[in-house]
């Protein structure tokens, strides 16, 4: 179900599997690619948990996320407005949006909508605007 758009000043965190990390440990383009048939890219809305420290926001996500977190995986943090601007301005994909998609178990769950698994250009553009990187565990 599509939820409300996240505010531009807010931030999202993307869980990046070890196989998608570059040799220097930074998220690569494939950290932001979809699987075939996936409707959107799963992310978590950091400000959902309130105006608290980044590490505390990430701890909340770690507690709720419905994935087994690999020891060498990372969270990539991105700004909502900057991500949308980067994609819309440089790919022409004006329909890309970041929406809140809460689940019972994971209330901050959100999604980057509007691209498909073969839209590698968009994944490359998103990878360019990663602001911060944190260990997944």
């Amino acid at each position: 179900m599509k939820g409300k758009s996240l505010p531009d000043p807010d931030h999202i965190a993307r869980y990046c599997k070890p196989k998608t990390l570059r040799e220097d440990g930074r998220p690569s383009r494939t950290s932001f690619m979809l699987k075939p048939g996936e409707p959107y890219l799963s992310v978590n809305w950091l400000e959902y948990f309130g105006d608290i420290e980044r590490n505390e926001q990430l701890d909340c996500i770690r507690r709720h996320i419905s994935l087994s977190l690999a020891s060498t995986a990372k969270f990539a943090v991105l700004n909502v407005g900057e991500t949308l601007n980067q994609v819309q301005a440089n790919s022409g994909a004006s329909h890309v949006s970041i929406l809140h998609e809460p689940t019972t178990k994971d209330p901050s769950h959100s999604g980057i909508h509007g691209y498909r698994h073969e839209d590698d250009l968009i994944a490359d553009l998103i990878a360019e605007v990663v602001l911060e990187i944190y260990p997944a565990r």
Binding site: K17, P18, K19, T20, L21, R22, E23, S28, R29, T30, M33, L34, K35, P36, E38, L67, S68, A70, T72, N90, S91, H117, E118, D119, D120, L121, D124, E128
Partner: protein, 243 residues
């Protein structure tokens, strides 16, 4: 890196203890009562009661050396039903078979990676092999991962062999476990390729505009492995992707 390779190899060795039908070749300790019962066949699962039925039916495909182990797997699965009442114990068994298939695929891939060092003209073959071992070990260690298409690796290696002057790329795996290779020296000197299992490639290029170098051209497309370089060369890719 070494630890990671060792972990994967020990997992592969562990799975080699299973026969072709998926049952363990090594016998597992089992109580005398169950040992007698296994002679009669497999237990079935009562979906309504959510517990194993002590009705036994014949299972002709079980090889004699695998019988004890196969019963033990099923018993383990039944015992696990209290923790996951919504799942059939056969789900666990099915999951184990899927894991075996993944291990088998990765074993094949690891042989292919080792061949990169011995049988190709790729200058950075050792470094690349180490990187690929690391990536496929990461897939092997993740229980949620999909199968691994060996064709993607084969196409990537073919491309590197046919284009011998390329620099060492940044190599990662896509969500579908296909190879993605990237040559990037600046935000506007970026060439990235996904080697699909079909023999096609998806590529992205960020390159300075030929008339105004302050502007960046961004292109993406699909072509076969054979025609990739021919197609991307006019966009200046060789300026930053080759030695």
């Amino acid at each position: 890196m070494l630890n990671s390779i060792n972990t994967a190899d020990s997992l592969i060795r562990e799975y080699e203890k299973y026969d072709a039908a998926g049952y363990p070749l090594a016998t597992t300790s089992i109580s005398p009562g169950l040992f007698e019962a296994k002679k009669e066949g497999f237990p079935t699962f009562d979906e309504e009661e959510r517990k194993p039925k002590l009705i036994w039916r014949h299972a002709s495909h079980v090889s004699p050396e695998a019988e004890v182990g196969s019963i033990s797997i099923l018993v383990e699965s039944f015992l696990d039903t209290s923790a996951k009442p919504q799942e059939s114990p056969f789900d666990a068994l099915e999951e184990r078979f899927r894991d075996r298939e993944k291990i088998r695929q990765i074993k094949k891939i690891k042989q292919k990676i080792n061949a990169i060092i011995d049988e190709t003209n790729i200058r950075f073959s050792r470094r690349l092999a180490a990187r690929l071992h690391f990536l496929y070990d990461a897939v092997l260690e993740d229980p949620d991962e999909d199968p691994v298409p060996i064709e993607s690796l084969v196409n990537f290696i073919r491309f590197l062999q046919d284009t011998p002057n390329l620099k060492y790329p940044e190599v990662v795996l896509t969500p579908s476990n296909e190879i993605s290779a990237q040559w990037r020296t600046e935000p506007n000197r970026h060439f990235a390729v996904v080697f699909q299992m079909t023999g096609e490639t998806r590529f992205v290029i960020f390159t300075p505009n030929s008339k105004d170098s302050k502007k960046t051209d961004r292109l993406s497309g699909i072509t076969s492995v054979d025609t990739l370089m021919e197609l991307v060369e006019p966009h200046g890719v060789l300026d930053w992707a080759v030695q």
